[in-house]
């Protein structure tokens, strides 16, 4: 295992050798996995969510997948419940692993019914394990909400505030509130957590989803004896949703000082750097580890550490939230900014994807010339609105470049735009 000194960091007073924790999920289900993760170099884990005994029972056939071309997994969903092992076994294992790995973080994820007694009962045992903190799972979108837990709590800000307050009251450990993305405005539950006294929030949990329908059996996947149910979607395709939600909490005045543990589709060091630049202080990973194993921690640490060194960032906080000032509302964007596409003929392979995209669905800004042996596509600069679609659809990374055009015009936002009937005078 390699040590990258610049990755050591602190999250709500908890020291970690690096900002990479495994999210509460099967990778952190038991001592065996967690020890393997620590051996591989993970900084911490959020232990698979514990609940009251008797532990729930899982079904067989638990995950459904959304593939891209070539079978790469864009995302998958799951219909698993919280831990299916008894509370005491988990608590004993946590105690032992924490004792054996004092420099690694263990956060205990919890989900019990929305009653004060239930929380009051479970917390002392958790605290006694020596764990570094607790995470409240208000996010599980399948199965548990039907029993009044998980997302059923996470979707009601008042409940979040109430349960958070109980936890702060009955336990001295730092409290992280894990948020569900299955709501309209993620700032509301974050505010509630803040009011309840949470030390931090973590997000996102999985997203309501059906990954596919088996057209032979007409059953949604994953299919359990011919029937399916919606599950929680995760993996790299949820990253954009998670990034946005993290940024909203970080930008929101009411919650802007609330520490965030970023989760959702983090697969490599770049994803992690992006979450941190948009408001997260550390990150949690689940799907990438489930698809490739714990060894990806090497790339996560090494990649992030080298990038930081190159950029001159000495520690995580040096670039944390650096993209926040550049994240704003639409109304503040510069309407006089102009960019247009440019096709680099040396790199173009003549597939015509850009043309189809622009001609059929955008602004008819690409000109097709040449003959069957030499198809040539060029940009009609006057027509191009700089939407980026051709660049996005182009299979060659360097064939289409978007270029900034100097219009010579000053910054002008919609707020002050003459076409805006409600414009504000500058």
């Amino acid at each position: 295992m390699k040590k990258n000194a610049n990755l050591a960091c602190e999250f709500i007073g908890i020291k970690s050798i690096n900002p990479f924790w495994l999210a509460s999920a099967p990778p952190t289900d038991k001592a065996y996995n967690v020890i393997r993760a620590f051996e591989a170099g993970w900084g911490g884990v959020v232990w698979k969510t514990l609940g009251e005994d008797p532990a729930p029972i899982n079904v067989s056939s638990r995950y459904g997948v959304h593939y891209g071309q070539n079978r790469q997994v864009l995302g998958f969903n799951n219909i698993e419940l919280i831990t299916d092992r008894s509370l005491q076994i988990n608590l004993d294992e946590i105690t032992q692993v924490k004792k054996d790995w004092p420099d690694r973080v263990i956060i205990v994820s919890l989900m019990v019914p929305c009653e004060e007694e239930a929380w009051k009962n479970i917390l002392p045992g958790v605290e006694a394990t020596g764990a570094d903190g607790i995470e409240l799972n208000f996010g599980c979108p399948h199965g548990m909400p039907e029993r009044g837990m998980g997302a059923a709590v996470g979707q009601v800000p008042e409940y979040i505030e109430m349960v958070t307050r109980w936890c702060k009251q009955y336990c001295s450990l730092p409290v992280i509130v894990k948020l569900t993305p299955n709501i309209t405005d993620v700032r509301k539950p974050a505010e509630a957590a803040w009011r309840g006294g949470a030390d931090a929030v973590s997000l996102i949990n999985t997203i309501n989803s059906i990954t596919s329908v088996n057209l032979e059996t007409m059953s949604p996947e994953p299919s359990v004896d011919g029937k399916g149910t919606h599950g929680g979607y995760c993996g790299s395709s949820v990253k954009p949703i998670a990034l946005s939600m993290v940024s909203e909490i970080a930008r929101h005045p009411e919650t802007s000082t609330l520490p965030i543990s970023g989760i959702g589709g983090i697969s490599n060091w770049r994803d992690a750097a992006e979450f941190i630049s948009l408001g997260a202080s550390n990150v949690q990973v689940c799907t990438a580890a489930m698809l490739y194993g714990f060894k990806i921690i090497d790339d996560l640490c090494d990649g992030l550490s080298d990038w930081m060194e190159k950029k001159g960032y000495n520690n995580i906080s040096d670039f944390s939230r650096m993209a926040i000032p550049n994240t704003t509302d639409w109304k503040h964007l510069n309407m006089n900014y102009k960019r247009i596409a440019y096709i680099n003929q040396d790199a173009c392979i003549g597939c015509g994807r850009c043309f189809a995209a622009c001609e059929d669905t955008s602004h008819q800004s690409i000109l097709k010339t040449g003959d069957a042996d030499n198809r040539k596509y060029t940009i009609i600069e006057e027509e191009c609105v700089g939407c980026n679609l051709c660049e996005i659809t182009c299979p060659e990374p360097n064939a289409i470049v978007m270029k900034d055009i100097d219009t010579g015009l000053p910054h002008l936002s919609w707020l002050h735009h003459p076409a805006n009937p409600y414009r504000e005078e500058p």
């Binding site: 490739y292 990806i296 190159k310």
Partner: protein, 445 residues
């Protein structure tokens, strides 16, 4: 009518020769790297790692390339194999890592590990600090004999561990066969010397040139003056055909010819036969045959005494020879070379076959091939004479230096690796021996 003894320089124009000797496997483009790296499955307990003698963590370095951490990928490679750049170019990957890749199973096309490795090492970011640091000085001083791949790898690893190293090298340049032996089109642009500069940047390694063991220095002296000795002198003898005519002008040692070729600044100056026969079946035979073709020889024939399927050269290398217009004559055993004082005209062979017991036997049939030059490429041999006569390491059944699993010889302070010990005679293996011997020396001191 054939002109006898047709050996000339300038068979091709300089420009043609430059073109012929350009990079055989050009670097992958960024886009090719994207596609190639995407194909790696990040296998668990990856078979490709087992198949790499230096155990480079292949899935990890490919993942690092794929996530845009190319510098990290280069570090990953170099930390296991400091000559990862030349290995990426010269390893017969089709018999090593790529042969083991699981992508062969259903797609019959491995991940292009060698070319990805080259891409990464070539992009090590030199604006960042040197990727290796030296541990604090141990006060120990180790002598290494031979600055070939084995010696260089050993030196680098020892230097990392904080030891002082002096390399005694007989030649005027370091690199061993990387400098003097490997086919030119595999290592273009003086890559070997650039790579060695990078190796030496670690510090703590001094190279003394023109210092041959057995001539300028003795093993005893080195043992007296140093805490340990590593021998990496390769093989300096070549096998003989032992047939009449072998001593005639025009019969050449392939390795010696390649050595001249590798140091020649204007390749067109090299004397090249019109009709060339190469005796042998390994990498050296292929190399001399292909390079002769590239220098303008009209007819190049590799003659091998067994069936083509028994050749030591991989299928990939045989295809390379075929692609370059080299002919193969198999099941032919040399009997004599005909010629006079001014050169050679013909080489004769007996047709061979296998008897019932599978033993190779010569038949009466005679094959006669016209030739101006015959290259002997039937293997190199270790010469033990530099080891001297007093206390010296014992040799094994093949006459090479005998070592235990720690690359330690019968003398406890003397270690050895690379071609001078028994093995597969590859650069990557020499590096592996050098690495492991260094660790053993480090632990012993």
């Amino acid at each position: 009518m054939s002109i006898a003894h047709d050996i000339q320089s300038n068979r091709l124009l300089d420009t043609e020769i430059d073109n012929n000797f350009s990079d055989m496997t050009p670097p992958l483009t960024d886009k090719q790297v994207l596609v190639a790296s995407e194909r790696c499955l990040f296998c668990y307990d990856a078979p490709c790692i087992d198949a790499c003698p230096t155990d480079i963590d292949i899935p990890l370095f490919i993942r690092k390339i794929n996530t845009g951490n190319v510098h990290g990928a280069a570090k990953e490679i170099l930390s296991a194999n400091i000559l990862g750049g030349s290995c990426a170019r010269v390893c017969p990957t089709e018999t090593l890592c790529e042969q083991a890749c699981v992508r062969n199973t259903c797609e019959e096309a491995p991940v292009e590990i060698g070319r990805l490795q080259r891409y990464a090492v070539d992009r090590l970011d030199r604006s960042l600090p040197y990727p290796f640091t030296r541990e604090s000085d141990t006060g120990k001083h180790i002598a290494i004999i031979g600055a070939g791949p084995a010696g260089l790898a050993c030196a680098h690893q020892l230097a990392r561990n904080g030891h002082q190293v002096t390399i005694y090298e007989a030649a005027a340049k370091s690199g061993g066969l990387n400098e003097y032996g490997i086919a030119l089109y595999k290592l273009v642009d003086d890559y070997t010397q650039k790579e060695i500069e990078f190796v030496l940047e670690i510090g703590g390694i001094e190279i003394k040139y023109g210092q041959a063991l057995g001539r300028d220095i003795s093993l005893k002296q080195l043992r007296d003056q140093h805490d340990a000795v590593f021998i990496g002198i390769g093989m300096s003898n070549v096998n003989a055909l032992n047939i009449p005519g072998e001593e005639l002008a025009g019969v050449e040692d392939a390795v010696a010819y390649i050595r001249d070729l590798r140091q020649e600044s204007s390749l067109a100056n090299l004397p090249v036969g019109r009709r060339v026969i190469v005796i042998g079946a390994g990498m050296t035979a292929i190399d001399i045959a292909v390079q002769s073709k590239k220098l303008g020889a009209e007819q190049v024939t590799i003659v091998y005494r067994r069936a083509q399927s028994a050749m030591g050269a991989s299928l990939h290398e045989q295809e390379l020879a075929l692609k370059n217009g080299v002919n193969f004559v198999c099941n032919a055993q040399p009997t004599q070379i005909l010629g006079d004082d001014s050169g050679i005209t013909t080489m004769e062979f007996n047709r061979t076959e296998l008897d019932e017991s599978g033993k190779l036997i010569a038949t009466d049939e005679i094959i006669s091939l016209e030739c101006d030059v015959v290259f002997k490429a039937i293997g190199q041999k270790f010469s033990s004479s530099p080891l001297g006569s007093d206390d010296k390491p014992t040799l094994d059944h093949r006459g090479r230096i005998s070592v235990n699993e720690n690359y330690q010889t019968s003398l406890s302070d003397v270690f050895a690796g690379g071609d001078c010990i028994n093995g597969n005679d590859l650069v990557v293996e020499a590096v592996d021996h050098g690495n492991k011997a260094a660790l053993a020396i480090h632990h012993q001191l």
